[in-house]
Amino acid sequence: MTHGARRTWRLRLYVAGQTPKSITALANLKRLCEDHLAGRYRIEIVDLVKRPQLARRDEIVVIPTLVRQLPPPLRKIIGDLSNQEKVLVGLDMLPARREA
């Protein structure tokens, strides 16, 4: 099992209103989580249009940005998450073959 696999993943998706990219990103994220982390994930959506002060606090420049808060370390993925492979690598979501 990959590290933290048993724990619940906490993911935060930063969007700016209901833009096509944001909607696509959320749909892509949900599908990935269902496929790989079923039952062990929580997604929080932060709409920076409503809470602009969080953009500074969390150092967000690009929209959409996905942040993996747990398990550590913190990881950032930008884009609408349509490149599934890169998301999996970026989040370290794939089972590590060495340990399998």
Binding site: Y14, A16, T19, K21, T24, A25, N28, L48, V49, P52, Q53, A55, R56, E59, I60, V61, V62, I63, P64, T65, R75, K76, I77, I78, G79, D80, L81, S82, N83, Q84, K86, V87, V89, G90
Partner: protein, 512 residues
């Protein structure tokens, strides 16, 4: 399309009630408060629009941008947001301190907001399409938080290294500049140039109103900073390079070339400080605001003549600023006392200030700026530069000449009478060695030691004096305990003037 046509397109002509077109307004401007910059831009940067400030590393972009914000906040009641893509707020505060600005205090008073945007490619994975809405939101929020009127983006080109999609970044930047205009903030965007390009990523394509290029180069071991307004739509600007200085007061630009030749001409006169010499000018002295050049080889009495002039100035109760490039103030005072000129009382009464400095201590521009600053601060009536030739130690002749022209224009504007001494190399005609600066001068006098018949005699002649007649004689003078004394003219029967022992002999023979 002409600039005027572009402006009309941007601002559709409104008609007033009586159906007439209003007079075309000049582009509104936001003063920077930076010494000299507002003069060369005729009032500041285009208000409500972005200005690009570019140049190589270390040329002063960030400091210029910072001063623009600080002065805006302090002097013009326009709070500002500094969005930095490189330096952290701590670094910025530290930099600000070197200019004498307290950014922390301004931040806590909500006159300034420092926002650090860190974008590191290695820390992010790109997976799909994105945009820079996050940046827009941050900037917008920062602007709204302190009701900012001014914004600095330093340097936004970092986005290109942080994100892989160059086309996207370019499109987003274009959107950002449109958005800034819509927000109505006056912005400075910095960009770093290299290899002959203004900015690495062509930011100049997005900024159509005003582009300023900064430059720092090392000439003969001294660094000089220059600024050039490359573009300023709808506004007259000199395309010349202006020297500028960064010191603990911030930036100063020398708005020299914008001065032109429009200064007032004075008809009041000031004494040369030597009675006999006054008599050689038909108006009995120099015109106020004149530039006087005194040239001669070593030991011909140039500094003494300058000291006489300084003393006469102080006697009138006027202020005299003496730039000494060879001697310390105390040394000048001692030397002059030996010929009966006591400068110390005037120094004590603060009518005479001596700024002694080795010319090589600063770059040429830095010297000029420092001199400007002293003149502006103290408003002297008379300025003495002794000797101006030492400036050649730090610049080429053409540079010295250009620098002098600027200094002279600047002083003429202020009706400051200036005396420059110039050291002529022995064996060369003064006309050849005076850097060609004599053409800038209103009055030119040449001092010489004439060797003949086994003796050296001091002579003075007026080569030119604009606006008045003057003696054409080469006069003999002596350096006595009472200073500079002109000797009465003695003529031979054929009309030629005699000097030295020959004069004595002639006088004994009962000549004139």
């Amino acid at each position: 399309m002409t600039p005027a046509a572009r402006r009309r397109k941007r601002e559709p002509a409104k008609r007033t009630r009586n159906g007439q077109r209003p007079a075309r307004r000049p582009l509104p401007k936001a003063p920077t408060g930076i010494s000299g910059l507002d003069e060369i831009t005729n009032g500041g940067l285009p208000r409500g629009r972005p200005t690009l400030v570019c140049g190589g590393a270390g040329c002063g972009k960030t400091l210029l941008a910072m001063e623009f914000l600080v002065r805006g906040a302090v002097e013009f009641d326009e709070p500002g947001v500094f969005m930095s893509f490189e330096e952290t707020p701590d670094d910025l505060v530290e930099n600000g301190r070197s200019l004498g600005f307290d950014l922390q205090q301004l931040s806590s008073r909500r006159r300034l907001l420092l926002e650090h945007v860190r974008i590191e490619r290695t820390e992010m994975t790109e997976a799909g399409e994105y945009d820079l809405d996050g940046l827009f939101i941050r900037l917008g929020h920062a602007i709204d938080t302190i009701r900012a009127k001014r914004v600095v983006l330093d340097t936004i080109e970092m986005l290109f290294s942080g994100l892989s999609d160059r086309f996207l970044v370019r499109a987003e930047l274009a959107r950002l500049f449109r958005w800034l205009k819509k927000k109505g903030v006056t912005a400075i965007v910095t960009g770093e140039g290299d290899a002959g390009r203004l900015t690495r990523h062509g930011l100049e394509e997005y900024v159509s109103d005003c582009v300023i290029l900064l430059d720092q180069r090392v000439l003969e071991q001294s660094a000089t900073r220059r600024m050039r307004i490359i573009k300023y739509r709808g506004s007259a600007h000199g395309g010349n390079e202006m020297p500028f200085l960064i010191d603990d007061h911030g930036l100063s630009v020398l708005p020299i070339t914008s001065l032109g030749l429009t200064h007032e001409v004075s008809t009041t006169l000031v004494s040369t400080g030597v009675a006999g010499l006054d008599g050689m000018f038909s108006k009995k002295g120099y015109f106020r605001g004149n530039s006087v050049l005194v040239s001669g080889t070593a030991g011909t009495g140039k500094s003494s003549l300058a000291a006489h002039f300084a003393e006469a100035t102080c006697r009138r109760g006027e202020r005299c600023l003496y730039f000494a490039f060879e001697e310390a103030a105390s040394q000048i005072a001692r030397n002059m006392r030996s010929i009966g000129i006591d400068l110390e009382p005037w120094m004590r009464r603060d009518l005479l200030r001596v700024h002694a400095q080795r010319p090589t201590a600063l770059g040429l521009e830095a010297h000029l700026v420092a001199m400007h600053r002293h003149i502006e601060d103290w408003q002297p009536h008379v300025v003495i530069v002794d000797p101006v030739t030492n400036m050649t130690a730090i610049g080429s002749d053409t540079e010295v000449k250009a620098m002098l022209a600027r200094l002279i224009d600047f002083m003429k504007m202020r009706q400051v009478t200036a005396l420059f001494t110039s050291l002529t190399e022995g064996g060369r005609a003064p006309e050849r060695t005076d850097l060609g600066v004599s053409s800038l001068m209103d009055v030119w006098m040449v001092l010489a030691n004439l060797e003949m018949n086994g003796e050296r005699n001091r002579t003075i002649q007026i080569v030119k004096a604009r606006g008045m007649a003057h003696s054409n004689q080469v006069r003999e003078f002596m350096m006595t305990d009472d200073g500079f004394q002109l000797v009465d003219v003695s003529r031979r029967l054929d009309g030629s003037v005699t000097i030295g022992s020959a004069r004595g002999a002639q006088q004994r023979q009962g000549g004139e």
